[in-house]
């Protein structure tokens, strides 16, 4: 037996203490979900709630097993340690096995797991139950933003003239089930609003169902969770749950187009720029109902967000920048979503078609985006995947923003 080293002993004690403390801190952290908008541990809808009801006992069982096994190993290590004074030729009892023990600890975990299995199956059935009176929304991922199509007239078609196409943010009435169908226009993405339900991959060529329902009005954040290329990290989404009345107003407003000419002279100039440049990829209904350019590559989405009602959204560019609530222009965080996400990016009355409060528009970020979009979010504009640097002059940017501000 080599001489015991004090350094090693200190390292051992430190490690055991730190690791124990770490585990305790992590368990404690699971109970603090404020300020964590993507947490899975604080459900806000029936689906996420039934997942939570399943997960908590599973974690509890796992925790008990963890404590038993780790405790047993540590206890055994202590109790049966060889001591210096032991005779090296003195051996412990040579036990080769005990069949009844083996059978016991094969059956016991199997029984526990059978219990978990029952809960799992019941929850799967629950999560897949069809809800009557749900709103049908098709969610399409593309690099690197989300498009939403609402089947407003419930005819099973998402592309009719009565239907809504929007992007980045999904507006839903609180307390009413939404039947989401996920799909993709290019690679596989995953649609995930942790507060409302688990995730569901958006696979090109497939239509995958997912139920969403928010108990209360509020803003529910999401993040694309299937690796989808360069800007995967910058592909977020937002579900804005509103009272039913507001939702109906929102729908009415979304069905309008923007064929009326703007009145502000700056905005009139901006519209010209729009038609010359932006309309190649983007659509504003009533102005250019189809985009001017088709993307030659077959697999690439070839679409850019529909901007008909841009100012009814609180965020833009894959929900990574706030469209409203500018703060000090010198503050670098103006490019980021604010920490308090519930109020951040609030379109206010514009959401339901009211006037845009231009004083609240986050011009700094919006202008920076128009100045050089690829510098603010990694994209491949040369491959038809993302917004290029349009080399606009400052005047053009100013006019374009003025025009965009009319898109309520």
């Amino acid at each position: 037996m080599p001489r015991r080293s004090l350094t090693v002993r200190i390292l051992q004690v430190v490690t055991l203490l730190v690791v124990t403390f770490l585990f305790a801190a992590l368990v404690a952290a699971a109970f603090f979900n404020d300020g964590k908008p993507l947490t899975t541990l604080s459900p806000s809808g029936p689906s996420s709630d039934s997942i939570q009801k399943l997960v908590v006992p599973v974690f509890a069982i796992a925790g008990v097993v963890f404590l038993l096994v780790e405790g047993a190993v540590l206890l055994i290590s202590w109790k049966f340690r060889a001591k210096d004074e032991d005779d090296p030729e003195e051996f412990p009892e040579q036990v080769h096995g005990r069949t009844f023990l083996e059978i016991g600890w094969t059956i016991l975990p199997a029984l526990i797991l059978a219990g978990v299995a029952v809960g799992t199956v019941m929850t799967i059935i629950d999560l897949n139950r069809e809800e009557p009176d749900s709103i049908n929304v098709q969610v399409a991922g593309q690099q690197w933003w989300w498009q939403y199509k609402y089947d407003v007239n419930n005819d099973g078609n998402f592309d009719g003239p009565e239907d809504i196409v929007t992007a980045t943010e999904m507006v839903i009435p609180a307390g009413r089930p939404i039947q989401v169908t996920t799909t993709s226009n290019d690679v596989i993405h995953s649609f995930w609003i942790p507060g409302l339900n688990g995730k569901r991959d958006a696979v090109p060529g497939l239509r995958n169902p997912l139920k969403l329902e928010a108990d209360e009005p509020g803003v529910y954040r999401g993040q694309c969770t299937e690796f989808c290329g360069l800007s995967h990290a910058n592909m977020r989404m937002l579900v804005r749950a509103v009272p039913t009345g507001d939702y109906d107003a929102w729908v009415r407003n979304q069905l309008k187009d923007h064929s009326a000419e703007p009145t502000d002279p700056k905005a009139i100039e901006g519209k010209k720029t729009w038609l010359a440049l932006c309309a190649q990829c983007h659509v504003i209904k009533g102005v250019n109902d189809v985009k001017a350019k088709t993307t030659p590559v077959p697999l690439v989405a070839g679409v850019a967000p529909d901007l008909t009602h841009l100012m009814t959204r609180g965020t833009f560019a894959g929900s990574i920048f706030n469209l409203y609530d500018p703060t000090d222009p010198d503050d670098p965080s103006v490019l980021l979503p604010a920490g308090d996400v519930a109020s951040a990016g609030n379109p206010g009355a514009a959401l339901t078609g009211g006037a845009v409060v231009t004083a609240n528009v986050n011009r700094v970020t919006l202008e920076a985006w128009l100045r050089n979009a690829p510098a603010m979010k990694p994209m491949y504009p040369q491959g038809g995947r993302g917004m290029p640097n349009l080399a606009l002059t400052e005047d053009q940017i100013d006019q374009l923003v003025a025009y965009l501000e009319t898109l309520n």
Binding site: T7, T40, E89, V95, P109, I124, T182, R200, P298
Partner: protein, 681 residues
């Protein structure tokens, strides 16, 4: 064995003179040679095992640096060390490197070095194919990493889901390097699997029935069967991807009706058995170490063996648990959730058996023992978080978050790598003839345990609180800052523990000359590899022992009384084998061709990417290598034949344990053209 019988007889009937006539390059290298050149042509399973380990540790450092880059980037919101593009390449290559170039080859290193010793064989069944396996793995790994210098690494994740792996979405050659590099390492793994399975099944020492094999050998057998069947599925998927990327096929072209889930299914049918074949070798190592230092037999040998086999079988029925959110439908989700839950049962049996092995023992906490207990405790965490994924609705929240990252690092680092560390410390004296310093070893363990937990434990909570995987950046306001900082600190602690291990290797080596040699059996161990001198002589055993029970070597030293008491019956020095000159033992002769043949593959692969003429050159090297392989004489010019041949039988029916050299290697070439088809065709 038939081959070795047939060989010499063949020569008598034909023109044996011409066979032995040196014919320029067709002469085999001399066996007695030393120095670096001898490593290039060696067919010795031990040297090949050491090279596997050394190459894997080299790639481990590359993968580790990539891991540190990731952790620095995520230290704080909006990290700027790496661009999005660089980050995507780094995490892709980190995963690919750690899985294919580190964990799998370290498993192969132990299997190559130890398994023939544990079964009392002179070498593996096909020594030249063994060398070819290693070189193909090494060249495949170098080829894969050469992408860094030739336009950037793969950027689609180690799983490279379609259609994001297509040319449109990943126009650089990174994914081509990934694809062809892994086809090459796949050929290496497949050749290794055939080789090692045949070795275990055919070349055991007399008396060693399957149920008397050491557990590590059992786990190697299961692992190699998993490889045998898993690798071709990946290769099939990769052939489709290669056709798509290089020849414009439509396998993953959604515009022409392709289904992207095809790739996911093929990849995970490979990918899940892959997980088990990474962990089982470490389970085997730990099953050797725990009884040694508990000084009592492994608890429930048959249960440990059968649970390993059960894991091997059940591992094939769980792949779609990687796809719970892919849209495979609730019926499939339910089925795979249930199969996944119940694979936890055999895994749990192993953990409990290890615990029961320790119960009632006299535990000495040497470095290998500490790392083994580390595996038991850390793998338990990974196993339990694995059970939470099998609960499919929970998994819809957890999958593709850092919770998964935490889970599989607890399995692959806390499980596999702790087991490998235990194996390094345990077998170091057997392989290199000196013990690693115990004090440094223990410090190594505690530092690694600390760094490991600091790095990966916080990822559980990060994932549960919403942090996605594979994101190069995150924003303030999501509550990710604290635990990312802890994880980054942990990563550097972990790196320092690896540095300490490498330091220990050199430090212990330099101190070794002043210390007594460890001898054949420094740990008072149990299995027959410990009865031969350290470092292992080239011929392994002389004579081949006859095995009568599990832990045969232990029971040559100790006897058990009726009431389970153990008494020494022989001094260790009397039962271990003495170093002999080994002159009468014929060993397989070295060969140039394995390295030549393996070298042709990356050349062909570079050709497929850059210029088809170069591919032709590669193909010519491969074909030429094959013919050289077939036509080279069975022995080197100086091979000794000065013996009447009876000595090798002296061990009493040791026939089974002896390697077929010339003929087995010679005939085995029939396997290769077909294998090449996977690469070229």
């Amino acid at each position: 064995m038939a081959l070795t019988e047939a060989g010499p007889l063949a020569l008598t009937s034909g023109d044996s003179d011409t066979v032995y006539k040196p014919a320029g390059v067709f002469t085999r290298p001399k066996s007695g040679a030393t120095g670096w050149k001898s490593w290039l042509t060696t067919v010795d399973h031990k040297k090949i095992g050491i090279m596997y380990g050394a190459a894997a540790l080299f790639f481990f450092i590359i993968g580790g640096v990539e891991a540190l880059l990731i952790r620095v980037q995520l230290w704080a919101p909006r990290g700027t060390l790496l661009s999005a593009d660089q980050y995507n390449q780094v995490f892709t290559m980190h995963g690919t490197t750690m899985i294919f170039l580190v964990v799998m080859p370290i498993g192969a290193a132990f299997a190559n070095y130890l398994m023939p010793l544990q079964i009392g064989a002179r070498d593996v069944a096909y020594p030249r194919i063994n060398a070819f396996s290693f070189w193909a793995f090494l060249f495949g790994g170098v080829f894969l990493n050469s992408s860094w210098l030739l336009g950037g690494g793969a950027d689609g994740g180690w799983f490279n889901y379609a259609p994001n792996n297509g040319v449109i979405f990943s126009p650089t050659h990174g994914i081509d390097f990934w694809n062809l590099g892994l086809i090459i390492t796949g050929v290496a793994s497949l050749a290794g699997a055939v080789n090692l399975i045949v070795t275990v099944l055919n070349m055991r020492a007399p008396g060693m029935t399957l149920m008397k094999m050491p557990i590590f050998t059992w786990m190697t057998l299961v692992t190699q069967f998993l490889l045998l069947f898993a690798i071709p599925v990946l290769t099939a998927a990769q052939i489709l991807l290669m056709m798509d990327r290089l020849f414009d096929a439509n396998f993953f072209n959604v515009a022409k009706g392709a289904n992207p889930l095809l790739w996911e299914h093929l990849f995970w049918i490979f990918g899940h058995p892959e997980v088990y074949l990474m962990i089982l070798p470490a389970f085997g190592i730990v099953s050797e170490i725990l009884p040694t230092f508990a000084r009592k037999p492994i608890f429930g040998y048959p249960f440990i063996v059968f649970s390993g086999i059960a894991i091997g079988f059940m591992g094939w029925g769980v792949w779609a648990h990687h796809m719970f959110v892919s849209g495979i439908g609730p019926i499939s989700v339910t089925t795979f959730a249930l199969t996944t839950m119940f694979i936890a049962v055999p895994t749990g049996v192993k953990i409990l058996n290890w615990t029961a092995t320790m119960w009632g023992g006299k535990l000495s906490f040497t470095s290998p023992m500490l790392f083994s207990i580390g595996l038991v405790t850390m793998f338990t965490i990974g196993g339990l978080s694995g059970v939470t994924h099998s609960v499919a609705p929970a998994d819809t929240q957890q999958t593709d978050t850092y919770y998964i990252v935490a889970h599989f690092h607890y399995v692959l680092f806390g499980g596999a790598f702790f087991g490998f560390m235990a194996g390094f410390y345990f077998y170091w004296p057997k392989v290199f003839g000196y013990l690693l310093n115990e004090k440094l070893g223990k410090a190594n363990f505690w530092l690694m345990l600390l760094g490991f937990n600091l790095t990966f434990a916080p990822m559980h909570i990060l994932g549960l609180q919403g942090m996605s995987r594979r994101i190069y950046t995150y924003d303030a306001g999501y509550g990710f800052e604290l635990w990312n900082k802890v994880a980054t600190i942990g990563a550097f602690t972990l790196a320092s523990s690896i540095a300490l291990f490498i330091f220990n290797i050199f430090y212990s080596k330099s101190k070794a000359k002043n210390l007594p040699a460890p001898g054949a059996d420094p740990w008072d161990a149990r299995t027959i590899e410990w009865m031969i001198p350290s470092p292992t002589p080239e011929y392994n055993f002389d004579p081949i022992p006859t095995v009568s029970r599990v832990d045969d070597f232990w029971y040559r030293k100790y006897g058990e009384t009726k009431d389970g008491k153990l008494v020494r019956i022989a001094a260790t020095d009397d039962v271990v084998q003495k170093l002999s000159d080994g002159k009468h033992i014929h060993l397989p002769s070295p060969s140039y061709w394995p390295i030549v043949l393996a070298f042709g593959m990356p050349i062909a692969a570079y050709g497929l990417i850059f210029n088809l003429w170069l591919a032709l050159v590669g193909a010519i090297i491969i074909v030429g290598g094959l013919y050289g392989w077939v036509l080279e004489p069975p022995d080197d010019p100086e091979a000794s034949h000065d013996d009447d041949g009876t000595d090798t039988h002296a061990s009493g029916g040791g026939d089974a344990a002896v390697t077929g050299t010339s003929e087995s290697a010679d005939q085995s070439n029939e396997l290769d053209p077909a294998k090449e088809a996977e690469t070229v065709g």
